[in-house]
């Protein structure tokens, strides 16, 4: 899922400072799973801001929607939003921008720093696993993504910085993606796949290629 982290309170304070009434909106999807912007976090942030701005008269309320990236779920907030000076969105960047698109005349602030597509490894730890490159090759690398899990996104790795299965960029926290690929293919008896030279990647389907769209013609009129 999309993994995000709440911004430091100091930064959030600065954002809402100029406003008298702010509606905090959480999202029930990805940011709930990574404990950054779900109901619990929205309720908590609301209390934090109430206490931070104690005795200033500023009003803070909170709500949470199913998925903030879909207009159908954001639309019902209309009345609440109109009753406030600003919205503090606890969704990922897509959610924030959906609120902006839906309610263009009210300032909408991002309470989170959206980071990556990843998965939980243990409670409280989420790691990046997918780079959204637009041309998945997981079937060629034992199900381990070299773009997202190799610090240099090598396709013919590992580089010389792989030591004891760790990546020299951050050995404490980062495994060498290519060691993982090597281990998987060895287990599967398909190590010969690594003898082939993988040609240069077509990055045009990735974020490097420009602003992307996905279209399903069969569901459009």
């Amino acid at each position: 899922m999309i993994v995000a982290e709440r911004k430091p309170i100091t930064e959030i304070r600065e954002m809402v400072e100029p406003h008298e009434s702010v509606l905090i909106v959480g999202c029930g999807a990805c940011v709930t799973v990574c404990m950054a912007g779900g109901e619990k976090e929205a309720e908590l942030l609301c209390s934090i801001l109430v206490l931070a701005f104690k005795d200033t008269g500023k009003q803070f309320t909170w709500d949470c929607v199913e998925r903030q990236c879909e207009p159908e779920f954001v639309e019902p907030l209309a009345d609440k939003i109109q009753a406030n000076d600003a919205v503090l969105s606890m969704a990922c960047g897509a959610g924030v921008q959906t609120v902006v698109a839906q309610f263009p005349s009210i300032p909408v602030y991002p309470a989170l720093n959206t980071q990556f597509v990843g998965r939980p490894l243990e409670q409280g730890l989420w790691a990046e696993t997918c780079a959204g490159c637009g041309n998945c090759i997981l079937h060629k690398t034992g199900g381990i993504c070299p773009i997202a899990r190799c610090s240099k996104s090598l396709l013919n790795g590992p580089c010389g910085g792989s030591v004891n299965g760790r990546c020299e960029v951050d050995p404490e926290n980062v495994e060498c993606g290519w060691q993982l690929i090597y281990d998987r293919l060895e287990q599967a008896g398909t190590l010969y796949l690594l003898d082939e030279i993988m040609p240069p990647k077509d990055w045009s389907t990735s974020a490097h290629g420009g602003v992307r769209r996905v279209i399903r013609e069969d569901v459009r009129l």
Partner: protein, 132 residues
């Protein structure tokens, strides 16, 4: 002479609540002004619960759980301590004194310990600047 300080004490029903009852039986002056909230495990106390207490006017919040290794839910007491540590940082960031929140462990029969710990908390709170 009671205290004007309002304290909310989230007490684990397996340890804290029982110790609190024992302590109250001895009519301690520190027990006046302290609201005991019984919870199934100290680990069930969320940061939002603590802040809610401050929003309703509490001067201090204590969480009373089991001793290390005795938690019936295994690590609930450890989880809430982590939460309190983290919350201390947040409180500092918004200009609130993190010393207003404390965790201390007791067993079900340590009524005196409960009284003593609570008294320490009250003392500490008295020394703090009012309001935040």
């Amino acid at each position: 002479m009671g205290t004007e300080l309002k304290i909310v004490a989230f007490c684990c029903e397996h340890s804290g609540s029982l110790a609190a009852r024992m302590a109250c039986a001895g009519e301690s002056e520190t027990s006046a002004g302290t609201e005991i909230v019984s919870v199934p495990c100290s680990g069930s106390v969320q940061a939002a619960d603590i802040l809610k207490a401050f929003r309703s006017g509490a001067d201090g919040v204590v969480i009373v759980g089991c001793h290390d290794g005795s938690c019936k839910h295994l690590v609930g007491n450890r989880r809430v301590q982590r939460r309190v540590e983290h919350l201390a940082g947040t409180l500092k960031e918004i200009g609130w004194n993190p010393e207003r929140v404390a965790f201390f462990p007791v067993s079900a029969v340590e009524g005196q310990l409960f009284r003593d710990r609570l008294a320490e908390v009250v003392d500490r709170l008295r020394g703090l600047e009012a309001g935040r």
